[in-house]
Each structure stands twice: as structure tokens, then as C-alpha cells.
């Protein structure tokens, strides 16, 4: 359902401002969305002033500095700090991206940091991704081989080889780190997220549909050929705009639609 305004318990209020210790060489304000499930209060925006000269360059470095030195209760996901794990996905300066890949100096004024949009918040910057993971599982993101293939002598107990050309078809698909920046930037997913699979999951669908070793291409296409699951994509292109890995989910979805028209 299209609901433009937030529910009453989700309205954001202003919170506390923390000043950096003197002397401050290059102060930067980070305005961060906070919500604690134990407080039974509405979410609030806390402002943290940090000294950039004593901090790493990325937004994630800023968050770590705050957590280490100012407010240890600040909660966010992070792991690899180099754009490989996809944990620190959040909305920074209005656009979904990975905090570890976003430079603080890219943002002119204060840096506003929210959790991924239109998601249930577990705590602070941690969104509940269980629905998205469920949707990912629904497209069966693993290699499927039909029994036929497995019983022929040629294929028995042997690895299924791929030509470089066949392997090339997976480029732009396998690199996805499942941070769900794209999915949560999609207005269509905001309004129809219960049914619509969203760009990240559809990109994974394309990854398995186009795998030469997979023997269920048709079945996979049939499974997503659904007015809600796939065709809620209206080529808004926000997904491609926000992907921190520079991938193009919208184009892959167009490829899926094309394959359904021509092959089913």
C-alpha cells in the first residue's frame, strides 16, 4: 500500500547534541537516527560533532569514532570496512550506500545518517532484513542440476565446466554483496515490498537464470513471471543510481523481462 507518511510510532524527533572536545581543527556534524527498543520512545536525531583531523576519512570511520569515544550505545552493522561484506548499508546524505565507501568530505554540510529506508528498525541504524532474506531464499539462489544431467556418463562425478564466454554472462551479477541499498531505494519496493521481490533479489534471480551450468532456466523464469514479484519494476532506476558496487539491477531486470517474453 502506498502510504507517504510515517506511522505515529515512527515519527522522528530531535535529540541530543554532543560537542567535540576543544581544540577542534575541522569539526563535522554527524546527524544520526537513533531508536532504542527498550526506551519505548519515538526515534530521534542525535547530533555528534567530531574532529575530522583525528578521524579516518570514511563515514564508517566517523561512526566508529563516535561509538568508541562519545556514545558506545550507537548501534550499526559493520565488518569488512572495504565494501566487500555489504553490512554497513545505510542512508547517508539522502542516498543509500555503504558507510565504508562513502567519504565524509563528499558531504558539504552536516552528514545525515538514517537506516535503510522503509524498513522495520531493530535498533539505531540496524534495519530488519529478514523479509528481504526470505525473498532471496524464494528464488532459490543456488545451482540446480536436473537428474538427467547428473546421470549421463559424461557428467557423472565431474565438474560442470564453463567457457569464458558463458562465464562472462555472470559479470555484473556475481559482484552483488546483498547490502540491499538498491532494494530499499526503490519506491516501488517501499509501497509493494510484501509482494515485489525488489532489485537485489531480482538481480540474484538473473545471476542464476544466466548461469550456463544451471539446468532450470525456464523454471526460474516461470517462478518470477508474476505481476507483483517482477512487474512492479517500472524502471525507476533508483537501484542503479544507488548501488555502491556500480552494478545495474534495473538492466538485469529488463533482461529477465525480455527473456520471459522471448523464451517462455
Amino acid at each position: 500500500m502506498v502510504e507517504f507518511s510515517l506511522p505515529a510510532n515512527s515519527k522522528v524527533t530531535t535529540g541530543i547534541t554532543y560537542k567535540a572536545k576543544e581544540p577542534r581543527e575541522s569539526p563535522k556534524n554527524l546527524v544520526i537516527y537513533r531508536w532504542n527498543p527498550e526506551e519505548k520512545k519515538n526515534p530521534r536525531l542525535d547530533t555528534y560533532e567530531i574532529d575530522q583531523s583525528k578521524c579516518g576519512p570514511m563515514v564508517l570511520d566517523g561512526l566508529m569514532k563516535i561509538k568508541n569515544e562519545i556514545d558506545p550505545s550507537l548501534t550499526f552493522r559493520r565488518s569488512c570496512r572495504e565494501g566487500v561484506c555489504g553490512s554497513c548499508a545505510m542512508n547517508i546524505d539522502g542516498v543509500n550506500t555503504l558507510a565504508c565507501l562513502k567519504s565524509m568530505s563528499d558531504v558539504k554540510k552536516e552528514i545525515k545518517i538514517y537506516p535503510l529506508p522503509h524498513m522495520r528498525v531493530v535498533k539505531d541504524l540496524v534495519p530488519d532484513l529478514s523479509k528481504a532474506y526470505e525473498q532471496l531464499a524464494s528464488i532459490k539462489p543456488w545451482l540446480k542440476r536436473s537428474n538427467n544431467d547428473l546421470t549421463t556418463d559424461e557428467n557423472k562425478n565431474e565438474e560442470k565446466k564453463q567457457t569464458p564466454k558463458e562465464r562472462e554472462k555472470l559479470d555484473g551479477k556475481w559482484e552483488c554483496v546483498l547490502c540491499f541499498c538498491c532494494t530499499t531505494s526503490c519506491p516501488s519496493y517501499w509501497w509493494n515490498g510484501d509482494e515485489y521481490l525488489g532489485p537485489a533479489v531480482l538481480l540474484q534471480a538473473a545471476r542464476w537464470v544466466n548461469d550456463s551450468r544451471d539446468s532450470e532456466r525456464k523454471e526460474r523464469l516461470k517462478a518470477i513471471n508474476d505481476s507483483l514479484k517482477l512487474y512492479r519494476c517500472h524502471s525507476i532506476m533508483n537501484c542503479t543510481r544507488s548501488c555502491p558496487k556500480g552494478l545495474n539491477p534495473a538492466k538485469e531486470i529488463a533482461g529477465l523481462k525480455k527473456a520471459i517474453v522471448t523464451e517462455l
Partner: protein
């Protein structure tokens, strides 16, 4: 899901997400589409008025001579051209053509340019 999680707030979306051009182009395509549908109804009313005879048509002429009506007509022609050009852009996308980010933005600017050009041309020379 147990009740424990039901008080979880919904993270802000429309209000905090940057108005990126990709989404702006898309919503304008919808708005112009809706506008054109309403305009189509008005045009059919116009045709009905013509067919009913000169006395009814006189009413229409009183309305149509107002500046307000002209303004709406200009907006409507703007809508037609935007919807047309952006529609062509979207047709290309259906074939997976021009979907890299640079082309998306480039073709978007071309659509805006053509829309203004066509609207101005139509109102200057027609």
C-alpha cells in the same frame, strides 16, 4: 512474527531520500499520464459540445477564451510531449538499451530539452 517486534518503527523513506533525478523523471511520467487521461475526457466533452450544435458550442467558446484555459492547454501539451518522449525512452529500456547510468541521465536531459522545444514550437507556430 511475535508481538515483541510490532512496535519497531518504520525507517523514514520518502521524506529523507534525496530527490534523485531517476525517480523524479519516473514520477513525472506518471503525473503527466494521469493529466493526459483527464485531458482526454475534457477533449471528448469538447467534441460532444460541438456535435450538440452552435448554442452549446458558444458556451465552450466563452470558457476557451479565458487565459486560465490557455494555461491548462499549454500544460497539457507539455504533458503530451513529456509523456511521448519519456515513453520512447522507456521503450528503449524495455530492450535493455541505454540503461547504464550515464545514458539514463543523458537521455533524461534530452527528453526535457525536446519537451520544452516542442511545447514552445507548437505555441509559437500553431
Amino acid at each position: 512474527m511475535s508481538n515483541k517486534f510490532e512496535n519497531r518503527p518504520l525507517s523514514p523513506h520518502l521524506s529523507i531520500h534525496k530527490k534523485v533525478l531517476t525517480a523524479v523523471f519516473s514520477i513525472f511520467h506518471r503525473i503527466t499520464g494521469i493529466g493526459l487521461s483527464i485531458g482526454a475526457i475534457l477533449i471528448s466533452i469538447w467534441f460532444i459540445l460541438i456535435s450538440l450544435g452552435p448554442s452549446y458550442f458558444a458556451y465552450f467558446q466563452i470558457i476557451s477564451s479565458s487565459i486560465f484555459f490557455k494555461l491548462i492547454l499549454i500544460l497539457w501539451s507539455f504533458g503530451i510531449f513529456y509523456h511521448l518522449f519519456n515513453g520512447i525512452r522507456k521503450l528503449y529500456w524495455s530492450f535493455g538499451i541505454g540503461m547504464d547510468l550515464r545514458s539514463v541521465y543523458g537521455s533524461g536531459y534530452v527528453v526535457i530539452f525536446l519537451t520544452f522545444l516542442s511545447t514552445i514550437t507548437v505555441w509559437l507556430f500553431a
